[in-house]
């Protein structure tokens, strides 16, 4: 029973970060109807940013998100302004290919700058853990879960209560109607992509103490982000939060009860089942 709860807890802790990745993708999809295949690569950029800040300036990875969030927001906004805005009315497959191309550019540029060596960010608490009721809580994962929780709460508040948040939701609901109501749709798109990128970058920062850092890590997270958002319902923030936790738990349960090699197969199998039987996802109806 201890094993069950242990894997449940570590699944939920990892799932928090997954939720962050998924929420970023879902906001971008909700507002622009563009599936961002460069999402994992943006996360990778966030990881390297954190790694750079840690090794060069000695800034703690969890503190560095204060720098990562605004920088990644700018980065995402620029990507949107320069590239994505031009294909908003193009065929969906062309949008997908454009983001694939951007992802390739990011991961390979990073490979030229930092080589493809695996990098490890070791902090004093990287392998630390706390025991509670016989279940061990990994320190970095627990801290990152708490931070994720705070960020998600702030994001809800932003989307629900502020004018800009409401404008973003309006754009997601109906782009043309929002435009008629005097909302600057292009600006909302830039903000949405900026938000998505900063969430992905933050997730990258939060997982950098526990994962290997290398330029090609992005595609694994891009795939995970798709699974999470489709599971939750494309465009639904609550769905993505739930989806992230579910995928985190499914992975850790799969690793414990089946084998660690097959845990990703479990995730993709869930993905296909959801696509087939409930393509709108868990929260498909309620958009953002």
């Amino acid at each position: 029973m201890i094993i069950f709860f242990q894997s449940l807890i570590s699944g939920i802790l990892v799932g928090g970060v997954y939720a962050l990745i998924g929420i970023g993708l879902t906001i971008i999809f909700g507002v622009m109807r563009v599936i961002n295949f460069a999402h994992g690569d943006i996360l990778m950029v966030g990881m390297y940013l954190t790694y750079g800040l840690f090794t060069l300036l000695g800034i703690d990875p969890f503190l560095s998100i204060l720098i990562t969030i605004p920088l990644m927001f700018l980065y995402g906004g620029l990507l949107q302004k320069i590239f994505i805005n031009r294909v908003l009315h193009a065929l969906p497959q062309n949008q997908i290919l454009l983001t694939i191309g951007l992802g390739l550019i990011m991961s390979n540029t990073m490979m030229l700058i930092c080589t493809s060596d695996y990098k490890i960010l070791t902090t004093s608490y990287s392998s630390g853990s706390v025991k509670l009721f016989g279940i061990s809580f990994s320190e970095p994962l627990t801290i990152s879960f708490v931070i994720t929780f705070v960020i998600t709460a702030m994001l809800y508040w932003f989307l629900m209560k502020t004018d800009t948040g409401q404008a973003i939701r309006a754009t997601a609901q109906d782009r043309e109607a929002a435009q008629l109501m005097g909302i600057n749709v292009k600006r909302m798109s830039i903000i949405a992509f900026g938000l998505g990128a900063s969430l992905a970058g933050t997730a990258g920062a939060l997982i950098s103490p526990t994962y290997y850092i290398f330029p090609q890590i992005g595609s694994a997270f891009t795939l995970k982000a798709f699974v999470i958002t489709v599971l939750g319902g494309m465009g639904s923030v609550i769905g993505a939060t739930l989806g992230g936790i579910i995928i985190g738990v499914a992975e850790s349960m799969g690793a414990v009860y089946i084998s660690s090699g097959w845990k990703d197969v479990v995730v993709f199998a869930i993905f296909l089942l959801v696509l087939l039987f409930k393509p709108s996802g868990l929260m498909g109806k309620t958009r953002m």
Partner: protein
Amino acid sequence: MNVNRISANNNWSSPLRMVTGIAVLAFLFLFPRFVESPYALHIMILFFLSTIMGESWNILGGYAGQYSVGHAAYFGTGAYVTMMLMQFRQIPPWYGVWAGAAVVVLVALIIGSICFRLRGPYFVLASIAVAEILRLSAMNLKELSNGAEGILATEIPPLKIGGVIVTDFLSKVPFYYTGLAFALLTIIVTYFIQHSKLGYCFQAIREDQDAAHSLGINLSLYKNIALVISAMLTSLAGSFYAVYIGFIDPSTVLPLDVSVQIVLICIIGGIGTIYGPVIGSLLLVPLSEGLRSNMIAQAIFKSGMVSEESGMGIFLRENLSHAHALIYGILVVIVILFMPDGVLGFMKKMLARRAKS
């Protein structure tokens, strides 16, 4: 748009086109007689391989409009079946190739029955997921596929017909002709599809699924036909690659990168056209090989743009050989933003504009 495409390719019987076609074919058939450099042959073989991959994807993606980003599944399955039969069962690859194609047809029908219920972006995501499941299975089913270690071909048995040794596969020449034959096969298949009722049905589905459905086209039947043809030809490419390179593992024949690369060949060349994938391969293969072998860096030094000793020169010499994926990325972005019909479409447009003025 559609009508233009069909009629533009209909005047192939004009004498000039026929002469060029025959000249190109004669050149390709005689090429190994004049050029003995194994490296030149290697580049040509890669060009054929890329053409086979591009043309096969084109049937599903370009004509039927189903953007599969999971074609590595068929490439890898073909490669694995051929290789496993050759290494573990001593079945020569020229039988293995067809066994691979048969297995791939089965796999494609299963994948089709899952993925074709979905449309647009959801179809893309499902096709990726299925390919990933296959890759992870190849990693984990160690007793069947050797897992992450991959399979190394120890030797290829010589091809004998009636007791006479036709070829022993020791040089690159037999691979050259096999590649050429497969590439021509895929082009001919594409040609016949484009000019048949089947091809019109595919294109109707691409242009508007619901309209095609209301005209009585059985969507799932035709999508599955397109997938099966496309997957079978892709598996030929996979088997050919496996035997030619002599080594496969899940991360070289089954990853997402392979699927993406297959799509890029078509996108950069021009999708839904017979020669688009050929143009795409003609651009991408020399480019990536030139970068990989540092030939392009050498050319930059020779042209005097950057001196070899300068900091920039050292940077180029050390890094340009790893930059082919970066260049792919930049090319895709440029093509999508500025030439949405691919290089072939762009050239046609430019020619038409010049003809007008």
